[in-house]
C-alpha cells in the first residue's frame, strides 16, 4: 500500500472536506436512503431495514466526521470506517458514491455479476471499503487491529466501526469488547446501530441484549447513549469519544429499523427482503 501521507493536503487540514451543516446532512441522508431503496429494488434482493436504520450515522460520518479523501482511498492517514454489519453494504455504497469514491451510476450494479458492489461489503473490490464483512461479529476485532496499528505507527487517524445490535449476540463481539478494554485503544470509536430488530423478529424476543449499555460499561468501555437519528447527538457523541483517553468508546445509537419508510419501520419483514417496484415507488415518494 503506497504511503501518501507526505504529499496529501489533508495532513494540514484535519477536518472532513464535505463538512455539511445539519440541514444539509438531513437532505443527504434522505438522498442516501433513496439510493438504498432504488439499489435494492433494482437488485431484487438485499437488506433495506438495516441500511435505513444506519443512514443518519453513515451520513454524519462520511459528510462531517471522517477525515478521508475519496480520490485517494488508501491515503495512509485517513480515518478508518469499518462496517461490521456487512448486510448494510447498500448504505455504505451510497455514501461512498456520493462522496466520490466511484460513480453514482455504478450503484445500479449492486449484486449483479462482475459488479464491484458485492452483496456484502468486500474490501477487494470496492474503493473505500476497509473490511470484508457479512459473517457477523468480526468487525470489532478487525477495528481493534487497525487501531493498534495506528498506535504502533504513531499515527493520528481514528478508527470507527459500526456494529448491529443483533451481531452483539455473537460471542466474538464480546471477546473483542474484552480485548479492547484490555489493550485500551482510545483511538477507537464503536457505534452500535441498535434498531432492535433482527431477521426473524424483535431482538428482545430472540436473544435479549439488555441491559445493553451496562454490559459495555461492565466490560470497561466509555459509553454514550444517543438517538441515532439525531445529527446533533451523533456529532457530539463522536466529539466526546475523541476526548476520552485510556479506554475505547462505544456509542449506543438507538435507531428505528427501516427508518424513513413508513411501511418498513419496525418491520422485521424488511430485514432481508427487497421492496417490489410498487413498494419502492411509495418509499421514494416518502423520502422526497
Amino acid at each position: 500500500m503506497p504511503n501518501h501521507s507526505e504529499a496529501s493536503p489533508e495532513n494540514a487540514s484535519p477536518s472532513n472536506k464535505f463538512n455539511l451543516s445539519t440541514a444539509e446532512l438531513k437532505q443527504m441522508a434522505k438522498k442516501l436512503r433513496r439510493h438504498v431503496i432504488t439499489m435494492i429494488a433494482t437488485a431484487g434482493s438485499g437488506h433495506p431495514g438495516g441500511s435505513l436504520s444506519a443512514a443518519d450515522i453513515i451520513t454524519a460520518l462520511y459528510f462531517k466526521v471522517l477525515r478521508h479523501n475519496p480520490e485517494n482511498p488508501h491515503w495512509a492517514d485517513r480515518d478508518r470506517f469499518i462496517l461490521s454489519k456487512g448486510h448494510a453494504a447498500p448504505i455504505l455504497y451510497a455514501a461512498l458514491a456520493e462522496t466520490g469514491y466511484f460513480p453514482v451510476a455504478e450503484l445500479a450494479t449492486l449484486r449483479k455479476l462482475d459488479s464491484r458492489l458485492q452483496g456484502h461489503a468486500d474490501s477487494k473490490f470496492t474503493p473505500g471499503v476497509e473490511m470484508s464483512a457479512g459473517s457477523l461479529g468480526m468487525g470489532l476485532s478487525f477495528a481493534i487491529g487497525v487501531a493498534l496499528a495506528a498506535r504502533l505507527d504513531s499515527k493520528a487517524y481514528r478508527t470507527y466501526v459500526l456494529l448491529s445490535d443483533g451481531e452483539c449476540e455473537e460471542g466474538q463481539t464480546w471477546e473483542a469488547a474484552l480485548s479492547a478494554a484490555h489493550f485500551k485503544p482510545d483511538n477507537l470509536t464503536a457505534i452500535v446501530d441498535c434498531n432492535g430488530i433482527q431477521l426473524s423478529g424483535w431482538t428482545r424476543d430472540i436473544m435479549n441484549l439488555e441491559p445493553f449499555t451496562r454490559k459495555w460499561q461492565a466490560f470497561g468501555w466509555h459509553t454514550i447513549d444517543i438517538d441515532g437519528h439525531d445529527f446533533d447527538q451523533i456529532l457530539s457523541a463522536c466529539q466526546e469519544a475523541e476526548k476520552i483517553k485510556g479506554k475505547p468508546t462505544v456509542i449506543i445509537a438507538r435507531t428505528i429499523k427501516g427508518k424513513g419508510v413508513s411501511f418498513m419501520e419496525n418491520n422485521a419483514a424488511f430485514h432481508g427482503k427487497a421492496p417490489t417496484w410498487e413498494e419502492a415507488e411509495r418509499a421514494l415518494k416518502e423520502l422526497e
Binding site: K124, M131, A143
Partner: protein, 311 residues
C-alpha cells in the same frame, strides 16, 4: 538422526525477523510459552499482543493489523487457531488475501497425551480449502526456520503447521526452501513416497529398509501442500509408476487427496495412502500413537510393497 524442536526454531526465527523488520507483529492466545512466541514477546513487548483465550478475536485483530500494513504472525495450537476459527480465517484473511501468517504448533496426533480434543488431524484439509492460502508443513527444524522466513517475505495468508515433539533433522544446515517446489530427498525408480512433516523422516527410514529388499524408492518432501508442486507429482508418476502418500492427517482433504487429484488427471498410476483414515486418536505417548494408528516406517514399507505389486 539428531532431533530438534520446530516450535523452538519458530520462536527464535521470529526474533531474528523482528530485528530486521519493525513491521513484524506477533499475536498469541495464551499459549506463548508453548508456541515459543514468548521469545518475541520478551524482545519486542510493544509488538506482541497476547489476546488471551479469544482465538477468533485474535484472527480479526491480526486482519486489522495486516490491513494497516503489518506483517502479522498469529499463533496457537493448530486445533484452536485453525479448526476453531475457520469462518474468521475465511472472511478476514482468505477473502481479502491479507498478510497474516497463521503458525500453529501441536499439529497432528503427536500432541500425544492431551488426547483427541487437542489433536488437529483435519487442519490441512481445512487450510487447503481457503483460497489464497499457502499451506506449509516443514519436515524438520531447519525447514521450519526457512518456512517462517519465506512466509514473512511473501505477501498473503499462510498456514504453517508445526509439531509438539522434537523431530529428526533431515536437512543439512544451509538448506534453502523454495515455496511450492518439492524436494526430492532420495532418487529411485520403482515407486515414489510423497511425504510431509514428520512422515518425511519415516519415509527415509522406509527406503533404507526397502533398498535391502531391492526396491529402489524415491522420496519427495512435499513441504508446500498448497500450491502443490504438480510437476514433481507427474514426474514421479511417469518415472516410477507407483505412488505412496504419507501424512499425519485424516484420509480426506490432505496431501493424499491433493496428490491423487493430480495423478488421476495427469498420469493415473497405482497409489497407496498412509494416514489416519477417518477416526480420532486417543491419549498416549507420541510414538505409541504413531504405532497404534499406522504412521511408522514399516507402514510405509508395506504400502510401497503393495503399490509396487499393483504396477
Amino acid at each position: 538422526m539428531t532431533e530438534a524442536s520446530t516450535r523452538e526454531t519458530y520462536g527464535k526465527t521470529l526474533v531474528e525477523l523482528g530485528k530486521q523488520n519493525k513491521d513484524i507483529v506477533v499475536l498469541d492466545a495464551d499459549l506463548s510459552p508453548s508456541t515459543m512466541t514468548s521469545f518475541f514477546a520478551r524482545e519486542f513487548p510493544d509488538r506482541f499482543f497476547d489476546c488471551g483465550l479469544t482465538e477468533q478475536n485474535m484472527v480479526g485483530i491480526a486482519a486489522g493489523l495486516a490491513a494497516s500494513g503489518k506483517i502479522v504472525f498469529a499463533s496457537s495450537f493448530a486445533i484452536f487457531v485453525l479448526c476453531r476459527c475457520f469462518d474468521q480465517l475465511r472472511l478476514c484473511l482468505s477473502q481479502p488475501e491479507l498478510n497474516v501468517k497463521i503458525v500453529a504448533t501441536h499439529g497432528g496426533i503427536t500432541v500425544g497425551e492431551d488426547g483427541t480434543s487437542h489433536q488437529a488431524i483435519e487442519d490441512l484439509a481445512l487450510s487447503c480449502a481457503l483460497p489464497g492460502f499457502t499451506v506449509v508443513v516443514p519436515a524438520d527444524a531447519i525447514e521450519a526456520a526457512e518456512a517462517v522466513r519465506m512466509a514473512a517475505s511473501a505477501h498473503g495468508p499462510f498456514y504453517i503447521r508445526l509439531s509438539r515433539p522434537k523431530t529428526p533433522i533431515v536437512y543439512p544446515e544451509g538448506y534453502r526452501l523454495t515455496l511450492g517446489k518439492a524436494v526430492t530427498m532420495r532418487q529411485g525408480m520403482d515407486a515414489t513416497i510423497i511425504a510431509v512433516g514428520i512422515m518425511v523422516a519415516k519415509a527415509l527410514e522406509a527406503v533404507d529398509i526397502l533398498a535391502r529388499q531391492d526396491i529402489d524408492c524415491r522420496v519427495i518432501n512435499m513441504h508446500t501442500i498448497k500450491p502443490l508442486d504438480e510437476a514433481s507429482v507427474v514426474k514421479a508418476a511417469s518415472e516410477t509408476g507407483a505412488i505412496v502418500v504419507a501424512e499425519e492427517h485424516l484420509a480426506q482433504g490432505g496431501l493424499g487427496s491433493r496428490v491423487a487429484q493430480v495423478v488421476a488427471r495427469e498420469k493415473p498410476v497405482p497409489m497407496e495412502f498412509v494416514n489416519l483414515g477417518d477416526k480420532y486418536a486417543l491419549s498416549g505417548k507420541a510414538d505409541e500413537l504413531l504405532q497404534r494408528y499406522g504412521l511408522t516406517a514399516s507402514n510405509i514399507e508395506e504400502s510401497v510393497k503393495s503399490v509396487v505389486e499393483r504396477k
